[in-house]
Structure formats: structure tokens, C-alpha cells
Symmetry: C2
Subunit: 292 residues, 2 copies
Amino acid sequence: MTTIQQTGEDGAIQRMIAGLSTSDSVICGPGDDCAVVDTGADQLQLLKTDAVVEGIHFLPNEQPERVGWKAIARVVSDFAAMGGWSQHFVITIAISGQREVSWLEGLYAGLEKCAREFGGVIVGGETTSLPDDAPTVISVAGTGAVERGAWVSRSTASPGDVICVTGALGGSIKGKHLDFLPRAQEGRWLAQSGKVSAMMDLSDGLAKDLPRLAGLSGCGYEIFAKDVPLTPGCDLNAALGDGEDYELLVTLKDRSALENWPFELPLTVIGQMSDPSVKLMPGSGGWDHFSQ
Amino acid sequence: MTTIQQTGEDGAIQRMIAGLSTSDSVICGPGDDCAVVDTGADQLQLLKTDAVVEGIHFLPNEQPERVGWKAIARVVSDFAAMGGWSQHFVITIAISGQREVSWLEGLYAGLEKCAREFGGVIVGGETTSLPDDAPTVISVAGTGAVERGAWVSRSTASPGDVICVTGALGGSIKGKHLDFLPRAQEGRWLAQSGKVSAMMDLSDGLAKDLPRLAGLSGCGYEIFAKDVPLTPGCDLNAALGDGEDYELLVTLKDRSALENWPFELPLTVIGQMSDPSVKLMPGSGGWDHFSQ
């Protein structure tokens, strides 16, 4: 008898997906930021599901508009990390019948606001009841699109590639985790640049997410502690471990992408991919849903 | 202050979706069995999200394989009710870290079994933690396809149309609700026949679902009590109100579709659509997630 907490999130996922079949239509299956499938349209389709849970991703007394924004923005962030954009969303809500309808209206206002801002339309949903004391669960599934040949995996970095992040890391719990702007334009630009070897969005913290990217790419990594961009008021441990940054973690084949970077938001070199024997991450941390 | 329980499921949904925007790509938005969108592929795309909750849709000690089967089958059933078929699935699981990993493995075995049986591939998922005493929530989002011009709405019945159902109704709680076969072939055949004016799948019971179809179609209805096909051991109230039948509710422009019906599963005439002033449903009942 092994619990999910004992294996951790990644261990549990490995065991769940071990027996899954695939098909010719699947370009990229479980394990990346999104799935990539071929539906016969001009562009490839991106598929993503994600959830926010009361007490984990938002507090019970949080404004529902902010919760809705976050729920959509997390999915948009994953599409950005593949180099694509959002198209359609469907929403599942599991909630106690004792909650106020106005909370759901506020939630939907936030969902709609974020979808409108970043592109994409809410086309359906499902609402189901929970016991009165159970935490509300909001699951957002989205479809997106990306040009054939332009999508970026998290498994294709190589030793020697430059490691960069957008923005600054740490301290998201102070508010950014609810109001963050997914790096949609930046992700598109990076994918179109042709200079990116791998990309993912930072949801569990650099200390947790970079080893995932490196593992899938068959690489190691070296992070230069002094170069990690810190959110004002945060130290290095917070920047590496807090999670919910929703910045892009990018590996570049060469530094020339940095020269033409057209955004105000910084793109900062923080390290270098290496051969698999090197794993240099200052501090320790990162968020595991089932180990904390 | 109005609770969700006070408005009921349909009332809450109306208020949630009131402010949603749409786009040219949306052929059919919230309110039908699935959304129908145009992604530029040869076929239209179907989008659906659905959830099963521990203690509501399955018991805590249920075999996880059966739970997984049900979770996928419910989505396949909605695609069938539009005349389409399933393609890709993404799975969100919210669960306590104290649960056994083997439960998740069993769940995925059931998800995979049903997807394999009815077509479609699981391409991704998300797993998030819940407090130890919270009920497990499994949300399945799926994409499907249907030929342009062949999809069937629930809002297009007319007075005089013949009302039919597949199979027999009632008593699903004795086991069928976990092991049911979504009417995928039957739904495809009906949509291709050109004789169907409206279709939906019966998830909350005929007494609840037919008024939805009739309301969206601007019609009334008359159900012939003696003709409703009863699951052995069930009375009429059970057949109308138990819910989770996952049979197809179909309205036909004429009876000729019945003559060529190629399946062993019965397709039974149970009533007639009428003008909106007539609403004749024997007994009372049907499942509202938030009113029971």
C-alpha cells in the first residue's frame, strides 16, 4: 500500500500513464505543458486541463473574479509555453449547493475577463454538487493552436543551451498568483524566433520545474545564483521554491535571441544546460502537490 | 443572498453564462450536450467537460476501474447525442495525498479501457491535492468530431415530432450507471439518418431532461405512460426520475427511421412533441444536482 503522498506527484503520474495507448493523431502526449494533436486543420491543436482548488490555489474568502482570472490564465500560460494561443474553454465546477450563486457569477466574470484579454471563448461547462464542507474545485480545459513546426516542447534542450526566465521569481503568494499575466506574447515571439530549444511555464518553482525539463531533455543544468531575477522583497530560496511564478523558463540554442527581445519584461540568463551528471541548483525547494 | 440550491442547477447556469461572449468559430455554445466549434478542419469539433464526484457519482469503496469507465463513458455519451464521436481526452483529478496510488492506476485502467472501446486517446491530465476528508473529483474533458451538417442539437424539435428513447429506463443505480455502454453507434446512425430533429442523452432522468429539450426547442410534450420502456424491476416513477440512464432521447420528424433501425437495442416511441402549452409528464421527479 503506497500513498500518493509517498510517491509524490510526478511518481503518481508516471504510474497512471504507464498503460495509456496512443494514436497517429497524437504529436505530443502526457508529460509536456500541453498535449499536441493533429485534427487535420491547418494548425496543430493544443489540449490542456488544469484545476484550482479552494484552500490550495485560492483562499475561501478570495474575490471570485480573481479566482476565475487565475483559472483561465493558468491554461493560457501553458499554451504560451508551447508557443501557441488559446481558442476555446470548457469549465467544470464542483461546489456545495449552499454557496451563493453570486460567487459563481463573479467566478464567470473573471473567467470571461481573462479569456477576452488573451483570446479564446468559453463554450460550455458542467456544474456538480459537493458536500457543504468540501473545497470548491474549478477545472478548466482549453483548446489552443500552434503552427505546424513552431511548437516548443520541454524535452528538447541540449547541453550548452542558455537557460533564461522571463520576469522575476518568487513571492507570488503575495498576490501575483491570482492576477498574473500569462506570457502569451512572449511565448509566441520566442517560438517564432527559431532560437528556442525548449520551454515550459514555471508553476511549481524553478527548483522543481527545471529538473523536469532537464530530465525530459536528458540533460543536467547549472544555475548561476547571482543572476536569478528576484521579485523585490524575496530571497533566492523564495525565488526558486515559492512556485506559481507563471513565468517562462526557456532554453536558447544561442544568445542572439536576447539581442532582439522586443518586450519591456526582462528575459534574463540564469544558467546553462549541461550533461546529465551536473545538477547545480542553489538552495532547495519547489512545490509538490502531494509532499507538502 | 441566494444559494445555488435555491436557484437549482439550471438557474445557476443561466446566471453564470449570461455575460459570456462568443465568436464566429462557435457553432453551438453553452446549453447543449456539447459545444460545437469550427477549427478549420474538415469536420466540426465537439467539446465537452464532465465530472464524477466521490459520494455523488460513485461510492468511496467502488472499484476504481468502474469509476474510470464511467467518467469517460459520460463524455462519449454526450458526443453520441450530438451525432459525433470521441477523439482526445484530458483528465483532471483532485484527490487526497493519503489515497493509494493503486487507486489512481485502477482509475486510469478504466479510463483507458473505455476510451479504447469507443475511440479516443487520453493525451494529458492534471493532478492536484485535496484535504484528506474531501471527496475525490475526476473531471474529463474531451474533443470529438462530427461531419458538417450532421450534428444534432437538443433545441430543434418541433410540435408533432415523435419522441423515442433507446433501451430501457430506470434503476441505473443498481449498477448500470457505472458500466453503461454509451449509445455511440446508435447516435451516429440516427444523426446520419436525416430523420432526427433533436437528440440528447438522458443523464438526469426523462422527467428532468425532456423539459430541457422541449424548452430549448420552444415546444411542449406528451409522454404516453404505458409506452415508457421500464428496466425490469422498475416502476414508472423510477424510469422517469432515477437518472443516469445514459440512453438517447430522440425526436423524429417521422416514424420511418424506426422501420430501418438496425440495432438489437430497442428504439421505442414514448410520446409526441406538442405546442408549448402542453406538458404532460406522468409522475414527477428527475435529478437536480443542487436540489436533492
